[in-house]
Symmetry: D2
Subunit: 298 residues, 4 copies
C-alpha cells in the first residue's frame, strides 16, 4: 500500500516508522526538516508540501496533528489535501480534536469524494513506538474495514465507535472520566494516609472494592504503591498533565457546544490548570496528588 | 460463642440472624420492640436494655448503629456497655462512623480493659441477608484474629486495615472515591450520548480503556447498558443516594478534622445533596445521572 | 454623522433607533427583512448587503452580532466590511465575543487602514431602548475620543478599558464575577432560610456586611426580598440564564487560551448549564436559586 | 453593671477592656494566666474558675471561646456556668459556633432560668480593640434590649437577627458568601490581567458594575489596587485564611445538618484548605489569589 503521512512528531514519527516496517510505502511531509529527514532515512519518500503528498499517487493518507486548526488547514486549506487528492483516497486523521470539527472536515472530504475516518489513539509515545496503540474509529463500517489492516501495523486494538466523529467522542469521554477518577484516587489516597492508613494497604482495599479503577490499579498516584508507576519515579514518563489538560479542554468545549453539563469534568480541568500553572505541566498527570500533599514538593 | 448484639435494623437484623444460623448464642437489644421480637423468634435471647446485654455473660458484643452519636451513647453512656461489661469482652462496632470518633470510643474501651474493633461493612442489605458482606477492620492483629471466625458467619471478606479506626478510614476513602467516580461515569456517558454515541458502545470502550471503574463496569448509571444494574430498573434497589450522602459527609468531615482538602469529594457530596433535595434520596446513587439528563425525569 | 449599522436584533435595533433620534444618518443591513424594514420606517436607509453598507459613504460602522463567528464573517468575509470600506472609517463592534477574536479582527482592520474599537455593552434590552447602556471600550485613546459622542447617543456610561480587546476583557471578567456572586448569594440566602432566618432580615444584614454585592443588593434572588427584582415576579425580564451562560462560556474559553485557572467560574458555568437543561434558560439568571430550593419549582 | 467574662484571647481580651473603660465592673477567668493577669491590671477582678465567675454575683456573663466544644464545656460542664449561676443572669456568647449547637446551649440555659443570646462578631482584632465590632444577635427581643447598652461598649453596630441561633446563622451565611466572592474577585482580576488589562482599571470597572462587592471594593486581593488593603502589604493583618476556613467549615456543616446544598460554599472551603496546606493559613484570606498566580509566591 502507498500511504501518505503528515505530521511526524513524537507520535506520528514512530507510527510512520511502523508502517514502513510492515512493508508499506510511505510518502511523508512535515514542516520540521529533521523529523522528515529521519523518516526518509528509515525508508520513506520525502514530499515537498501537503499538496505534494496528495499528488503522489497514494492510496491512503494518515494525519497526526496537534489541534483542530492544523487539521482544518491541512485538509481544507488552499494548498491542502482536498484541493489535490483524487477521489476515493481514504483519509485517516489520528489527531485528537473536538468531535464537531472532526465531523465538519469529514463532511467536506465526503463531498470531495474522499471517505474519512477519525482515528484518535491512546497509548502514548511508548505505544506509538511499540506499535501497541489503541485506535478509536469514527466513520462508515466499510471504511473501517478498509483501514483495519493499515492501523494494525501501528496498534493492537482498533475499535469501531460508530459514525463519523465518534472516535473523538469516545476519546474525550474516556479521558474526561480518567482525569476525574485520577483526582478522585489522589484525594482518597491522601485522605486515607492523612487519617493514618498505610498507602499500600489502602490501595489494596480500594482495588478489591467499589472504588477500584484504572487510576488506582494501574497508575496509582501515591508514591511507592506501584513500583512501575510514574508516581514511583518522580512522575516522569507517562501521560503529561498538559496533555490531560488539552483533552479536558476538548471535552468541556464539546460539552458546551451541545449544552451538556460536565460539572466534575470542568472542575478537574481547572485543577489540572492550576497545577500546571505551578510548573508541573510536564509531569505525568498522576502528579496532581501533589496539590493534596502536606509537603507540596515532596 | 455467646454474642451480644445491639442494633437490629435493616443491616443488624439479618447479620444477627446469620450468627444464630452459624450456631452462636445471641443476646440482643433494640429500642424497636418488633425488631427485637423478630430476632427472638429466630432464636435469640431478649435483653431489656444495653446494660442487660453487657451483664448477660457475653464473650463478644457487636453493635450496628446509625451514627456516631448512637455509638457514643451505647458504649460510653451512663447505662452503656462500658459501665457494665467485664474486662476482656471483645467489642466489635460495625456502624459506619467517622474514624476519629471510632478511635475515641476504642480508646475508652481499652482503658476499661475491653479490646475493640471498628468493623464497618459494605455489601448492603442484600449482602447482610446473604452473609456476603465485606468487613473492613481496624484494631490490633490479635483481636482481628479472635473476631475473624465470628465475622465469617456474616461476611465472606474480612480485611484487616491496620490499627484502630482504620476500618472506618478504608470505608470512607473507598466510598468517597466511589461517589466521585459514579458522577464521573454519569458525566462521561451523558456527554458521549449527547455527542451522538451509542451508550452500550461507549460503555464497552470505557470498560476496556483507562476510564474503566467499578461504576462503569458493574453499576453503569446509563439505563439499558447493564441489564441487572439499578439503572435498568428505575434505580430501585442498590445503594441509596442518601446513604452515599452520609458517607460523603463522613469523608469531608474527617478531612476537615485533619485539614486535608478533598475538592472533588466535597463537590460530589453537594451534588448528591442537591439531587436528594429534588426528591431522589431513596434511589440508587447511580441515579445522579438524572442531573445531567435532557429530560430530568425520564 | 453618517453611520453604518449591522445587526438589528433585540439590542441592535433599539441602539440604531437611538442614533436616528440623536440626528445621525443611519444606513443599515440585517438578514431579517422585518428588522430592517422596522428601522427604515424609523428613518434609516436600507442597504442590500454588508458590502453595500461599506460602500455607502459612511463615517463609522457599528456592529451588534451574536457571536465571534458572525463578527469574523461580517468583517473579514469575502463580501465583508474590510473588502469594501475606504481606509479611515471607524469601526465599532458592540458584540460580546472573546477578547482574542476581538483583537484578531481589530488587527486585520488596522492593517486595512481602519481603526477599530471593541465596545461590548451591559444594560440589556431595557438599557438599549432607554439609551442607558454602559459601553466598555478597548482600543486607542484617540479612537475612543472619536467614538464617544456617537456612543453617548446610545448609552450613559462609556468607559475606556485600555488597548484593543480590553472592552471584551472587562465584560467577561465582570460578568464571570457576577455569575459567581449570584450563586453565592443564592446559597447564602437559601442556607440562612433553611436554618430558620427571615429572608429580608438576612438580606439586610448581608447588605450592610462584608457579603454585600450587586447580586444581594440590586437583584437578590430570594423571592420577596426586593419588590422590583425579577425574583419577585417569577424571574421574568432581567438577564437571562442562557445569556449568563454564554458570557461564562466566553470567560472560561478565554481563560483556557491564556492558561489561567478560573475554578469557581467554570463551576458556575456548569451549574447554569445544568439549570438551563432543566428548562430554565429563559428566566433571569437569579432563578439559579431554584437549584437550592426545597421545592424546586416553587 | 457587674459582668462576668470568660475567654480573654485576641478578641475577648480587648472586648473586656472596653467594658472596663465604659465603667462596668468585670470579673474574669481564663486558663491563660498572663491573659488573666493583663486584664486584672486593667481593673478586672480575677476569678479562680468558671464556677467562681458564676458565683461572683454578676448580672451578665459574656463568653468568647474558640469552638462549640469549649462553649458546651463552659456552659454545660460539671463545674460549668449553669451549675453555679442564679436564675435570671443574662448570658451572651460571642463565640462563632454552629447555629444548632448555639440553640442547644440556649435551650439548656433557658431551662435553667437564664436567658441567653448568641452574639458572634465581625470586625476582627482591630475592631475588638477599637470597640467598633458588629454584633449579630440571636435571641428574644427583650433580652436583646437588655444586652444592647453592654454590647454598645464593645461595638458600634448591634443587629437583632431573630430568634436563638440566628446570630450564628447570619454570620455563617454572610461569611460563606464573603469567602465565595473573594475567590470570585481573585479569579476575575487574575483573568483580566492575564488577558492584558491593567488591574486598577479593571477594579474600577468592576466596582461601578454588576460585579462589585465588598471583596472587590474594600479588600481587593490584587496587589497594588488598594493602597491600604492586605494585598498591598504582603497579605499581613486582616482576616486570616484559617479563620475563613473555620467559618466555611461551620457553614458546610450546618448546611449538611439541614440537608441544604452549598455547592460553591463547599468548593470555596476546599480551595482555602488546599491553600492553607501550602503554608498560607496565617495570611489574610485575600491571599487566595496566589492560587491563580503565574508565580505562586510572587
Amino acid at each position: 500500500m502507498h500511504i501518505g503521512f503528515l505530521g511526524l512528531g513524537n507520535m506520528g514519527g514512530p507510527m510512520a516508522r511502523n508502517l514502513l516496517k510492515a512493508g508499506h510505502q510511505v510518502t511523508a511531509f512535515d514542516l520540521s526538516k529533521p523529523a522528515l529527514a529521519g523518516l526518509v532515512e528509515a525508508g520513506a519518500r520525502e514530499a515537498a508540501s501537503v499538496g505534494a503528498v496528495a499528488g503522489a499517487g497514494v492510496d491512503v493518507v494518515i494525519t497526526m496533528l496537534p489541534a483542530a486548526a492544523h487539521v482544518k488547514a491541512v485538509y481544507l486549506g488552499e494548498d491542502g489535501l482536498l484541493a489535490h487528492l483524487p477521489a476515493g483516497v481514504l483519509l485517516i486523521d489520528s489527531s485528537t480534536i473536538d468531535p464537531l470539527s472532526a465531523r465538519d472536515v469529514a463532511k467536506a472530504a465526503a463531498a470531495h469524494g474522499n471517505p474519512m475516518l477519525d482515528a484518535p489513539v491512546s497509548g502514548g509515545t511508548v505505544g506509538a513506538a511499540a506499535g501497541t496503540l489503541t485506535f478509536m474509529i469514527g466513520g462508515a463500517a466499510e471504511d473501517f474495514q478498509r483501514a483495519q489492516p493499515i492501523l494494525a501495523a501501528m496498534g493492537k486494538n482498533v475499535v469501531h465507535c460508530g459514525a463519523s466523529g465518534n472516535g473523538q467522542v469516545a476519546k474525550v469521554a474516556n479521558n474526561m472520566l480518567l482525569g476525574i477518577s485520577m483526582i478522585g484516587v489522589a484525594e482518597a489516597m491522601s485522605l486515607g494516609v492523612a487519617l493514618g492508613m498505610d498507602a499500600k494497604v489502602l490501595a489494596g482495599i480500594i482495588n478489591t472494592s467499589s472504588g477500584r479503577c484504572w487510576a488506582s490499579e494501574v497508575n496509582n498516584p501515591f508514591p511507592g504503591v506501584l513500583e512501575n508507576a510514574p508516581a514511583s519515579r518522580g512522575y516522569s514518563g507517562g501521560f503529561g498533565t498538559d496533555l490531560m489538560l488539552k483533552d479536558l479542554g476538548l471535552a468541556s468545549e464539546a460539552a458546551r457546544q451541545v449544552r451538556q453539563p460536565v460539572i466534575l469534568g470542568a472542575l478537574a480541568q481547572q485543577l489540572y490548570q492550576a497545577f500546571s500553572l505551578q510548573g508541573h505541566g510536564g509531569l505525568d498527570f498522576s502528579s496532581i496528588i501533589k496539590l493534596y500533599a502536606q509537603e507540596p514538593e515532596a
